[in-house]
């Protein structure tokens, strides 16, 4: 495992009494692609701004390579940021934008020229040196913003929803390119997004946040398959979240029926959240399952169909490559592996 480059210890942040971050503990390893994921207002951008030095934590410590950097201003930090709306300097050309940081470091003009040309080639915009910023498309501006940050060879690159303004196709291309660049350059990326697909496809580690707290830290696969609570399950991918009761170890009751499951260690008859992914519910004939209902709606989603089946007072969301027309009576089969039992998240 690589050594830790950034370490946030008990970091909290208040804005005039409003709590933006609550006791965040997070470490980031060298060369890791970490994504801070959550809905707007969850504190992901604040966390990024604290690492960048644009905000100071109200309490707690921020370490960079083991050195406390709480009070270090942004211009002294070895991190660079790709801002949400790119924040390119409109009065400067593409070359001047990218060379901005190098010129401040008083680097030799020839070296600057060389580095700018290299980084422009890397983001596939060779020959754009003299262009004005406002003559570029959104995707090109986005690449310039990345180039402007990368040319400084930061140890950590912070990216604040950098692809938010791009259309789907371009966004997917840029996701691929960013991931590629990160692996090639061996730079630590801290990436903020609210897009769970983006997080799943790019990250080594995902940090799911909500209301200023970290909900779960893990690999994309862990987070998808083993969400720690109903919020994570719902935010990462789609889920059926049902009230249930843990009857005993390996047996859970929901929708009026007992189901075998793989979870244990709950109290007897403890109320729990039961999470089932829409693709984990199989549609079978009525005879094959005690859980029966009627197909209410069918929507074609491209790769799959989405069916809503009403059964035992619950609207089940089901994703399947096959479909039954609305009005059909069906049975729903859920294997023990597909049932995720979670402790109730009590309201704070």
């Amino acid at each position: 495992m690589q050594e830790i480059i950034i370490d946030l210890v008990n970091v909290s942040k208040n804005y005039n009494g409003t709590e933006a971050l609550n006791n965040i503990n997070l470490y980031i390893r060298k060369n890791e692609f970490v994504t801070l994921l959550g809905p707007s207002g969850c504190g992901k951008t604040t966390t990024l701004r604290i690492i960048g030095g644009f905000e100071k934590p109200s309490s707690g410590e921020v370490y960079f390579n083991g050195v406390k950097i709480n009070d270090l201003p942004p211009y002294k930090r070895k991190v660079n940021t790709v801002f949400q709306k790119y924040a390119l300097f409109p009065h400067l050309s593409v070359f001047e934008n990218i060379a901005f940081g190098l010129k401040i470091k008083k680097m030799d003009k020839k070296i600057i020229d060389k580095k700018v040309r290299e980084v422009l080639a890397m983001v596939n915009l060779a020959g754009y040196e003299k262009r004005k910023i406002d003559s570029l498309s959104g995707g090109q501006q986005q690449r310039i913003a990345i180039a402007r940050a990368l040319v400084n060879e930061p140890e950590v690159l912070l990216l604040d929803e950098p692809l938010g303004a791009l259309d789907l196709k371009l966004r997917q291309e840029m996701q691929f390119e960013l991931k590629n660049m990160q692996q090639r350059l061996g730079i630590t990326f801290v990436y903020v997004t609210h897009d769970q697909e983006e997080a799943l496809s790019m990250s080594d580690t995902i940090v799911v946040m909500k209301d200023g707290r970290i909900q779960q830290i893990g690999t994309p696969i862990d987070i998808y398959n083993e969400p720690k609570n109903a919020f994570v399950a719902d935010f990462i991918g789609e889920s059926n979240i049902i009230n249930g009761t843990m009857v005993q170890d390996y047996l859970v009751n929901f929708a009026g029926l007992d189901f075998e499951c793989v979870d244990s260690g709950f109290g007897q008859n403890e109320p729990v959240d039961v999470v089932i992914r829409p693709e984990d519910i199989q549609v079978v004939s009525e005879a094959e399952s005690p859980l029966r209902g009627e197909v209410k709606t069918v929507t074609f989603k491209g790769v799959h169909y989405e069916m809503i089946v009403q059964s035992n007072g619950i609207h089940w969301k089901i994703h399947s490559t096959g479909m039954e027309p609305a009005g059909t009576r069906v049975g729903l089969k859920i294997v023990p592996d597909a049932i995720h039992v979670m402790r109730r998240v009590t309201a704070k």
């Binding site: 940021t81 801002f83 924040a87 901005f100 401040i104 470091k105 406002d134 400084n152």
Partner: protein
């Protein structure tokens, strides 16, 4: 396009009250009435080339230039403070800056006369403190003071409005790339504020170079500026032709200054996206 007729009243207005008077001034400046009637001539412009008048032009431009520079030096920091995020009483301050402009221009300038008088408020105060009196009334300094006092808001407001519109993330981006406070100002804030500076300079320089009230009241008539010269030709000497010629020269000076300034304003036109 089908609503073109809506612009006709304005077109009529422009013709009658702007274009026609301009042409008349031009006409007067290049004609002269002799015994045989009206003839075209450049003699009025030639007359303006006499040293006594050129000195007036030079003095007008010089005083206006000094006032503009002083307004810029005073106004820019003021605009920065106003635009700063830590300044809570922002609206009150902007309001206070604008309020004097609602008061009569003549009155404001006249007030300075009583303040600066030999036995005026300022000298009485200085005498109390045992300091030597300040005798700047009826000097160029008083004229410059009057110009700076009257025209400072015209410098502060355009700069303030440009500064307050600068995207804060640009400043953060500069810091992120290693720029400290001074470098951020030098490389980002100041260049981006140039359109405001340019319009501030234009808005101060123009009235300063044409004023005749300030120089008459605070200069005591000793410092004839180009505005005073025009006033004299029309109201005292009754020489409309020469007065018109001077007006044409002044227009040329103003057009020139606007031309220089608009180069800076135009630079940022394309940046409207940000």
């Amino acid at each position: 396009m089908r609503r073109n007729w809506l612009s006709y009243p304005y077109l009529f207005w422009v013709l009658l009250f702007i274009l026609l008077p301009l042409l008349l001034v031009l006409y007067y400046s290049i004609t002269s009435i002799t015994g045989e009637g009206i003839r075209f001539t450049l003699e009025h412009f030639q007359r303006f080339m006499e040293p006594i008048y050129l000195r007036v032009l030079f003095r007008s431009v010089k005083l206006a230039f000094i006032s503009t520079v002083l307004c810029l030096l005073l106004g820019y920091p003021m605009a920065m403070i106003l635009a700063g995020k830590n300044f809570k009483k922002k609206n009150v301050m902007v309001f206070l800056f604008v309020v004097p402009m609602w008061m009569n221009f003549l009155l404001r300038t006249y007030a300075w006369m009583t303040l600066l008088e030999k036995n005026g408020l300022i000298n009485t105060f200085l005498a109390r403190l045992g300091l030597s009196p300040l005798n700047i009334l009826y000097t160029e300094k008083a004229v410059v003071l009057g110009m700076v006092y009257n025209f400072l808001p015209f410098m502060v407001l355009p700069i303030y409005s440009v500064l307050s519109k600068i995207d804060k993330s640009l400043i953060e981006a500069a810091e992120d790339l290693g720029a400290n406070g001074i470098t951020v100002f030098r490389k980002v804030i100041f260049p981006l504020s140039l359109p405001g500076v340019a319009s501030g300079i234009t808005m101060v320089f123009m009235p300063a170079v044409t004023t005749f009230v300030i120089s008459r009241l605070l200069g005591g008539g000793q410092f004839t500026l180009i505005g005073n010269l025009i006033e004299q030709q029309f109201l005292v000497a009754g020489d409309w032709n020469f007065g018109s010629a001077i007006s044409m020269v002044m227009m040329a000076v103003i057009l020139l200054s606007i031309g220089i300034m608009s180069r800076y304003e135009r630079e940022n036109e394309g940046g409207g996206l940000w």
